[in-house]
Amino acid sequence: MTDMTLPAQADSRASAANKQSVLEGLRTRDRAFFWLTRLSALLVLAILGGIIVSLVIGAWPAIKAFGFNFLTVQRWAPNAQPEPILGGLGPIYGTLVSSLIAMAIAVPVGLGIAIFLTELCPQKLRQPIATAVELLAGIPSIIYGMWGFFVLGPFLAEHFQPFMIKTFENVPVLQDVFKGPASNLSLFNASLVLAIMVLPFITSVARDVFLTVPPVLKEAAYGVGCTTWEVMRNVVLPYTRVGVIGGVMLALGRALGETMAVTFVIGNSFKISPSIFAPSTTISAAIASEFAEASDVHQSALILLGLLLFVLTFFVLAIARLLLMRAERRSGA
C-alpha cells in the first residue's frame, strides 16, 4: 500500500507545482493583455496631446513674431522686405463664412431629406435612398474638388452668378454681397461644394434621432388632425431638437476643416471681399497650397493657422458630442 501511495503523492505534488506554474503563466499573459489594451486606450489621449504640443511648438515662432496682431491683420506677404508680414484674418474669415453659408444650404436640405425618409418615402425605397445619400460621404474630398472645379464652377459662373448679380444690382447691401464679376473660383462655390459634402452627416443624424420619437406622440398629433408638416414642426422637431443641433454641429466641424475640395474651388486669395462671388481662402486651403514650399516664419504662421483651426473645430465638435450624448441619454431613458 505504502509503496503505491508514495509515487502517487509525489506525482500529485509535482502536478500541483506544475498547475501552479501554468496558472502563473496564464495570469502573466492576462496581465500583459490588460496592459496592452490599456496602453492602446491611453494612446488615444496621447495622440490628442501630441497634436496640440507639436502644433504649439511649430507655431511658436509665429506667435512670438506677430502675437495677437495675427488675428487682426489681413495682409499676407511672406516675401515682404525686410520682414515678412503675415496676418491670418483672411483665411479665418474665409473659413467661418464659407462654413456658415454651407450650413445655411445644407441644414434645410439635409433635414428635408430626413423628413422625406422618415415620413413620406415608401418603405421599400428608404434603405436604398438613405444608403445613396450616405455614399456621398464616402467620396474622397479631392473628387469633390475636381468636380467643383471642372463642372460646378463653370456652371455657376455662367448661369447662377450672373443671375444673382443682376437681380440684386440695385438693392442696398445685397448688391455688395452679390457683386460681380462672376468667377469660376469663389467663396460661394466653395460653400456649395461644402454643403454637398456635409449633407450626409446632417441627414443621417437627423434620421436617426427622428426614429427615436415614440410613435404614440406622432399618432396622437395625427389623431387630432395635424398635417405631416405640423407633426414634424410641433412634435418631432421639438422632441429631437438636441440631437438635430448635435448633428448640425458635427457637420459644421467637418465643414470648417475640409481641405482638398475647398482648395480646388476657392481661388486662394487672402484679400477679404464683401462679395461672396469673389475668390477667398480658408485656413486648410492656405495650408494645403503653401505649406510644402514655405519655410521659417511663413511655415510657422501656417502652423499657427492650423492650431487655430484645430482649437475651433475641437470646440465645435465637443459641443456636438455633448449634445448628441444628451440626446442619446434621453432616448435611452
Binding site: 492602446s40 488615444v44 497634436i51 475636381m146 482638398m260 484645430f310
Partner: protein, 285 residues
C-alpha cells in the same frame, strides 16, 4: 364634406403640401449630386483607364502614354502599413473601453476625445506628423505618410470595436468565465469571435476612409515621379498624384488624373458598400 373640414384646413393642407414637396425636391437634389459626380467621373475617366494605367510608371510632363503603377503601389503600401499600425492599436483601445473599463470615468473621457479625433480635420493630422516625423527625419517619407494614415485609422477602429463588443451578450462571457477561462482568453476567443463581422466592417470602413485621403499626405509622403518602395524616401501615391496632374495643363497628365480619380472613387465606394452589406447581413441574422 365641408362639415368635416375645420376653418383654415385648406390653407394648412396647402402649406403641408408645399413643404413636403420641398422635402421630395431636397432628396432629389441629394441623389442628383451623387449621380452627377459619378457621371462626370465616368465621362472623363473611362477613356483614360487602360491596362497601361496599372502596368506603367507615371510619365514625365508632355509625354505620351504612361500609367499610374508607382502611385497605385505606393498608395497600397502606405494604406497597408497605416492599417497594420492603426488597426491593432484601435482594436486594443476599443477592447479596453468595452471589456475592462466599461464603467470607468477614463473610458468616457477617451470616448469623447476619440469622437473628436474621428472628425478632426485631416490636414491637421498632416501638420502633426510633419512636426513629429518629417522634421526629425529631415525629409518627406513614405513612413511618415503611413503614420499619418494610421493616426486617421485609430479613431475609426476604436469606435467600431467598442460598439461591436458592447453588442456581445454578457452571458457568453460569463459562460466562458464560469469554465475558468482567463479573461484575456475570454475576450479573444469569445468576444472577438462573436463580434467578428462587426470588427471586419470597421476595418473595411477604415481602409475606405484613408484610401482617398489627400490632405495628410501632401507634406508627409509628398509624392514621387519615379518608382520607389523605400519607406524613408518620398513615396508616390494616388491622391497626391491626381492632385498634381489635374492642376497641370498637360492633357496626358489630365487624362491620367481622371483615370486615377475614377479608380479611387469606385474602390472607395465598393469598400463602403461591402462594409454596409456585411453589417446589414449581420444585423438581420
Amino acid at each position: 364634406m365641408n362639415a368635416f373640414s375645420p376653418p383654415g384646413y385648406a390653407a394648412r393642407k396647402r402649406v403641408n403640401e408645399i413643404i413636403m414637396g420641398l422635402c421630395v425636391a431636397a432628396t432629389a437634389l441629394g441623389l442628383v449630386w451623387l449621380f452627377l459626380i459619378l457621371v462626370t467621373l465616368l465621362w472623363n475617366g473611362i477613356s483614360g483607364v487602360s491596362l497601361a494605367v496599372f502596368t506603367e510608371m507615371t510619365p514625365p510632363p508632355n509625354a505620351h502614354g504612361g500609367g499610374l503603377l508607382n502611385a497605385i503601389v505606393g498608395s497600397l503600401i502606405m494604406t497597408a502599413i497605416g492599417i497594420a499600425i492603426g488597426g491593432p492599436i484601435g482594436l486594443f483601445a476599443g477592447t479596453y473601453m468595452a471589456e475592462y473599463g466599461r464603467h470607468e470615468k477614463l473610458t468616457t473621457v477617451i470616448r469623447f476625445i476619440n469622437d473628436i479625433l474621428l472628425s478632426a480635420p485631416s490636414i491637421i493630422i498632416g501638420l502633426f506628423i510633419y512636426g513629429a516625423v518629417v522634421v526629425p527625419m529631415h525629409g518627406f517619407s513614405g513612413i511618415a505618410g503611413a503614420l499619418a494614415l494610421a493616426v486617421i485609422v485609430i479613431p475609426v477602429v476604436v469606435r467600431t470595436t467598442e460598439n461591436m463588443l458592447l453588442l456581445v451578450p454578457q452571458q457568453l462571457r460569463e459562460a466562458a468565465a464560469g469554465l475558468g477561462v482567463p479573461r484575456s482568453k475570454v475576450i479573444r476567443d469569445v468576444a472577438y469571435r462573436a463580434a467578428k463581422t462587426g470588427l471586419i466592417t470597421g476595418g473595411l470602413l477604415a481602409v475606405a476612409r484613408i484610401s482617398g485621403e489627400t490632405a495628410p499626405l501632401l507634406f508627409t509622403a509628398l509624392s514621387n515621379q519615379f518608382w520607389s518602395i523605400d519607406l524613408t524616401k518620398e513615396m508616390a501615391n494616388l491622391p497626391v498624384t491626381i492632385n498634381n496632374f489635374i492642376n497641370n495643363p498637360d492633357p496626358n497628365w489630365k487624362r491620367l488624373a481622371w483615370a486615377g480619380a475614377l479608380i479611387i472613387t469606385f474602390a472607395v465606394l465598393a469598400l463602403n458598400i461591402a462594409a454596409r452589406s456585411l453589417s446589414s447581413r449581420n444585423a438581420s441574422k
